[in-house]
Amino acid sequence: MIPQPHRPLLVWAALLALLAYASYVSFRIYMSPEFLIGYANLFSC
């Protein structure tokens, strides 16, 4: 069992890890060719 005082820390650590992973994946997609083409099209008119 995880000691009670450590639980909030663990929740924060898990949330931060999740945020870091999601941010990494998001950045990669922002830079992907499909995204660039899709988004750049919006500004071509």
């Binding site: 941010s23 998001s26 997609i29 995204f35 660039l36 899709g38 988004y39 919006l42 500004f43």
Partner: protein
């Protein structure tokens, strides 16, 4: 209110963050549907653009009413109704074959859904669920949730379009939006405590209307709306016009999106420790300096990164600060209503920013005048923040001294 016992501040905060993440994030990806939908359905870009403009207008106009209902009867039913309308609207977007149908689904239904599940209603519940001394941090956290949604849902939308096509991508987003509905349960029973007083809604509106600080705050918030929408819509085009690659435009947007998460939370934390109007003053000052340097210095990877980070940090940090300031001055009883009116100012600014950016480009062939105007607006907004009287209105003082 025994049934509300499980609704601890942490639960309210977590569920409020998820609601904002989905409501603000999903709409952020709508622009990606423009090329495939207009191509497949034979629409003009104006058809698509009008529905999105309508959505922003309906959102801004509907939010004070949604806020008033939430303040009076509790936010749960408003968020629930907003979530259902939002999901239904996104689902019907997939089946819209005419411009009118798209106006109703993407414009009116999603707009009303946003009114019910956006900043005004959710932040009102969060503000009421925590003690006054922790309110600003809580607002910063829930704002960061919304900011994360805006950052992450855009690439998710693109991935869905690439993998399953725009029609199914919209259905998938509609299904995801439905998660707002169960989250509403956590936001129930959060109207103001009886100790908040017996002030009527009309009296609260009159009180705010007579308070100079409320209008100064609303006008500064309008500047925020003007700048953010202008940069979000026109920055990639500006960078491409200046001979840079679309990758650099997207890098700037991605940096803004990411640092917006940090900024929303950071501004909430700072607002809890220091004077909120002073933080707002510095926020608009940083924006003025960042924009001025951006147009004055040669465009390089370093300046684009610097601009992206500076704008990201100051992007939606205005929201927890403005919301917190309204709560601090007028109390939390009609917070959703009053903040929503200030937010209407933000949306009017958004409308003007999107429109004026395009108009000036068409007239002058460049965005330079708009950038200069943005610097000027930042300076004005910073100046508007300082005369705001941050003290609570006299009506609140006796009850607070008893608490």
């Amino acid at each position: 209110m025994r049934a509300g016992n499980w609704r601890t501040p942490a639960i309210v905060l977590a569920c409020g963050s998820v609601v904002l993440m989905l409501s603000l994030g999903t709409r952020q990806s709508f622009g990606l549907f423009l090329p495939p939908m207009t191509f497949d359905l034979g629409w003009t870009r104006q058809t698509f653009g009008f529905a999105i403009a309508l959505q922003n207008l309906v959102w801004g106009l509907g939010q004070p009413f949604a806020g008033a209902i939430a303040d009076k009867f509790g936010a749960a039913r408003v968020v629930l109704g907003g979530g259902v309308l939002y999901a239904l609207g996104v689902c019907l977007m997939a089946y819209s074959t005419t411009g009118t149908a798209f106006d109703v689904s993407a414009g009116i239904m999603v707009g009303l859904g946003l009114s019910g599940s956006g900043f005004g209603v959710v932040m009102g519940v969060v503000a009421r669920s925590v003690a006054a001394e922790r309110r600003s941090v809580a607002l910063g956290l829930v704002g960061a949730g919304g900011s994360f949604g805006q950052f992450a849902m855009l690439p998710l939308g693109q991935t869905l379009i690439s993998q399953i096509g725009w029609h199914n991508a919209l259905l998938a987003l509609a299904a995801m939006s439905l998660v707002i509905v169960p989250m509403a349960a956590a936001l129930a029973g959060r109207t103001a405590a009886p100790s908040a007083g017996t002030q009527s809604l009309g009296a609260a509106l009159r009180e705010a209307a007579a308070h100079k600080g409320f209008w100064l705050l609303t006008f500064s918030f309008m500047v925020c709306g003007f700048q953010t929408i202008f940069i979000m819509i026109h920055l990639p085009a500006y960078l491409v016009d200046q001979g840079l690659s679309p990758t650099q435009g997207m890098t700037a947007l991605a940096l803004i999106g990411f640092f917006n998460i940090v900024g929303s939370y950071g501004c909430g934390v700072l607002g809890g420790r220091f004077s909120k109007k002073r933080i707002l003053f510095w926020l608009y000052t940083v924006r003025a300096i960042a924009i001025a340097l951006f147009i004055a210095l040669p465009l390089t990877t370093a300046t684009i990164w610097g601009f992206g980070i500076a704008m990201g940090v100051t992007w939606l940090g205005t929201v927890p600060l403005t919301n917190g300031l309204v709560a601090q001055i007028f109390g939390v009883k009609y917070l959703s209503t009053l903040f929503s009116i200030a937010f209407l100012g933000h949306q009017i600014g958004s409308f003007l920013g999107a429109w004026y950016g395009g108009l000036m480009f068409d007239l002058t062939g460049s965005y330079r005048m708009v950038w200069i105007f943005c610097v000027l607006l930042s300076v004005i907004a910073a100046a508007l923040c300082m005369p705001i009287d941050e003290r609570d209105v006299t009506r609140l003082r006796p009850s607070e001294s008893q608490a």
